[in-house]
Every structure is written in structure tokens, then in C-alpha cells.
Point group: C2
Chain length 253, copies 2
């Protein structure tokens, strides 16, 4: 077992995950970065060693839309004490509900739903009694708001929000030490639109959207959520900043 502690970040090859890795590194946190694209993870590792050469960065290439790879990833990390687990990997889907592209939709479900269920379950199982342990799941404002035109994606994010809020309530009711928190970004300039639609070229968010956050801003908001004691960090359109709150979905006490 390593004597160092680590922060795991999935989907670290780009966007919010990539920037989150850098802000945690700037805090001196050792990292385990996960994504499919090994070259991107290696570039990130190099960038981090420029930020702080003492930060240890472990790389894991995995396709988390495979249930087996998600489980294998977790098992491969048995020897690392993990103080924070960030399930950031996720994507949108192509097509809409009237014209579904089923393999694309199912890939999204396996990534947004199954992988978050697997990795949240295993992390909670092993770290529920550990002081300071945090599970941060990246959902969306669409995890709290049905958005016609993005129905299937939104449904996966309702899953993530309800799951994470439920875990945090169970932890607090049961007297466990782990905290579970939901980050709910709105439009963020990342590879999201490109990946959802399998586009060859990057999307220029400043041309397409009047209001959006950058991935750097969102990583800063994730850190606010991490530092605070609230369960939910949701983008507030009025201020374009994060608003921390208690669980938002109705719940039985």
C-alpha cells in the first residue's frame, strides 16, 4: 500500500477533468488520472510535473463505458489510498428521441450511468469510514431539470444526481465519514458537443452559445464544492457562478 494519498479523476483527458487535475495538482494532491486516450494523459502528466514536480501522477487508460473495464480499473487501484474520487467521465448522445441512434445512446448510458454506479458503489464500500473521503460526481443542471431535446442525456444525469444525493444522505444518517457531492455544470466549453456528435472538428462555443463557462472556471467551482460542506454545487445562470446547496431533489427523511 502506498503511503501517499491520491485523488482519482475520470475523464481526465480533456475538459473539466483535465482542468480539475491541474487544480488538484496545484494543491499538491497526488493524482490518478483515467481516460481512454493515453497520449492525452501523458501530456497532462507532463503539464502537472511543471506545476509541481513532487506531485505523483498515476495513469490508467480505460474505457469506462465497459462495465468490465470500470470494475477492473477500481480493482487495479487497491494499493493506493484514495482520499477523493471524482467521477467526471461522461458524454452526450447523438440524435434525439424521435430519431435515436441506439448504439450511441447505449454507450452514453453505460458511461454516464453504469460506470458512475460501479465506481461510486465500490468507493463508498471501501472508504465510507475514512475521515475526509469525498466522492464527487459530475452531473449537469440537466440532472435537476428536464430539457426537451436532450431527454435521454438528462435522464442519465437525473440518475447521477439522485444517486449522489442519496449516498450523501445515507452517509450522514449512518454516521459515516465519507461525503458525496454533485457538481451540476451548465454549458461548458469542452469537447462535449464534439464528442456527443462524433464531429471531426472542435466546436467554437463562443460562436454557438451566448453563455457558457470555461473548463478552467468549472474546475475552480468543483474545488469550491470540494472545500465546502454542501452536497450540491450547481451553476447559477444569474451569476454564472456556482451555487452550493443541500440536496435539491425531494427526499424522505
Amino acid at each position: 500500500m502506498s503511503t501517499k494519498k491520491y485523488t482519482v479523476i475520470t475523464g481526465a483527458s480533456s475538459g473539466i477533468g483535465y482542468e480539475t487535475a491541474k487544480v488538484f495538482a496545484a494543491r499538491g494532491k497526488n493524482l490518478i488520472i483515467v481516460a481512454r486516450r493515453l497520449d492525452r494523459l501523458e501530456a497532462l502528466k507532463e503539464e502537472i510535473s511543471a506545476i509541481d514536480p513532487d506531485v505523483d501522477v498515476v495513469i490508467r487508460a480505460a474505457d469506462l463505458s465497459s462495465n468490465d473495464e470500470a470494475i477492473a480499473l477500481y480493482e487495479s487501484l487497491k494499493d493506493y489510498p484514495i482520499e477523493t474520487w471524482v467521477n467526471n467521465a461522461g458524454r452526450g448522445n447523438r440524435g434525439d428521441i424521435t430519431d435515436p441512434e441506439l448504439p450511441n445512446t447505449l454507450g452514453m448510458i453505460h458511461l454516464n450511468v453504469d460506470a458512475v454506479a460501479i465506481l461510486s458503489s465500490l468507493y463508498v464500500r471501501d472508504y465510507k469510514e475514512v475521515e475526509g473521503a469525498q466522492l464527487i460526481n459530475v452531473s449537469s443542471i440537466g440532472g435537476y431539470l428536464v430539457v426537451p431535446g436532450a431527454t435521454m442525456y438528462v435522464a442519465t444525469k437525473f440518475f447521477v444526481s439522485a444517486l449522489t444525493e442519496g449516498i450523501d444522505m445515507e452517509m450522514q444518517k449512518g454516521g459515516y465519514k465519507l461525503r458525496a457531492k454533485v457538481l451540476a455544470p451548465a454549458t461548458t466549453a469542452t469537447e462535449f458537443v464534439q464528442t456527443a456528435n462524433d464531429l471531426d472538428e472542435a466546436v467554437d462555443y463562443s460562436q454557438k452559445y451566448t453563455r457558457f463557462s470555461t473548463a478552467e472556471e468549472m474546475a475552480g467551482f468543483l474545488l469550491e464544492l470540494y472545500d465546502g460542506d454542501k452536497t450540491v454545487g450547481e451553476m447559477d445562470f444569474a451569476t454564472m457562478k456556482i451555487k452550493l446547496s443541500d440536496p435539491k431533489h425531494p427526499h424522505l427523511c
Copy 2:
């Protein structure tokens, strides 16, 4: 292509699905009944021929927790005009979030989330322009209410509720004819508790719960939802009856 119209009911081997098949048969509706247990479907078919010998009953044995079987089921029904599709199949999971049984949990997710996503998508794709077409997805009051102790199950039902409400909004906004509706039962005396926990013996709900509905009552409530023009039919604890309403989750207009 058959000249008759059919109502598909998944999870028809017991509980709400079994009773729903009987109430639709009593209306003279031809049925396609789906479940893993062929012997139960054959018994149901016999029971229905006693209710109305003119009702045609088509049997399909399928394990909908397999993505492939769910898709194959839909494709096997190409020659049947389907006026109503009821995604009733679903189950709870064993263990809780602090002590997960991952294969059991994943089986639940594949049934409650994936199969509903697959069958809803394909039905909406093919029937969105058909007058009178209805998609009824059986969720739970847990699709609107986080229930600590049932966190993972609840998360799957948040998926179902958000998906179905989103579909209905998209249909109405787009001027399509299909309606999508959510049934949200509370505790109902079925094989639910037995199946979730893999118990050998049936559970006596009257000993275990002070308030519950019978599967017959719930099938009657599903029929009220079917006959009405509201999107959601949710159990009301105050009256132990169904309360019909517009979409309940917050939404973008």
C-alpha cells in the same frame, strides 16, 4: 402486418404486469406479453382466454436485462401494430450502498434503465405519428423522491421518470401524436421484495407493511392513467389512490 392492434406488457409474469394484462384483456385489447418465465406467460394466456376468448395473446420469453434481448424483442414484433407499450419490467436490488452486490446492482440497472431506454426509444421512433399511441413506463414514487436505504433503485427510477416526462414534452412540443406517461406506484404487494433479495419464499406484505396496494389495484390505476390525458400517475399516500398530474420534475419550457 397483422390487422389487429396490440398492447405490449413487459414483466407480465407476475405482479402489476400480470394484472395489467388482465385489465387490458377485459377491454378486449390484444396482448403481447413478455417475461423470462414462459410457464407463467402460458398460464396468463389461459387465464385471459377465459376472460375473453377473442383476445389474441402473443407470448415472448425474453430477459430484458440483456441489451441484445431487449433489442431483439422489439425487432421480433415488427409485424404487429402496437397501440400501447407498457414498460413494466423492473426490479429492486439486494444489499445497500455501503455493502453493494455489484452483479445484482448491474442486473437491476440493465433492466430498469437500459431496457426502458431501448424499448422507449424504438417505440417512439416508430409510433410517434400514430394517433392514440401510448408509452407507459412504470417508475415508482422513488422516481420523484430520494429514499435513503434504496438509493441505487431510486436513481434508476429517477432515470425512468425524467426520461418519460421528457419524451411526453418532446411529443407535445413537436406536434407528435404519441403520449408518454409515468406510473409511480408506492409499495405494492408483488414479487418485488422477494425478487430484489433472491428469497426462496414469497413475502407477506400484510405482515411487513402497514400500507400497500395490491397489484390488482395498481393495474386499475394504470388504466386510469391510460384513459386520462395527464403525464404522471402517482400513488397518493393520503388516499392510497392514484393522483394524475402534469410532469412533476422541473423542466425547461
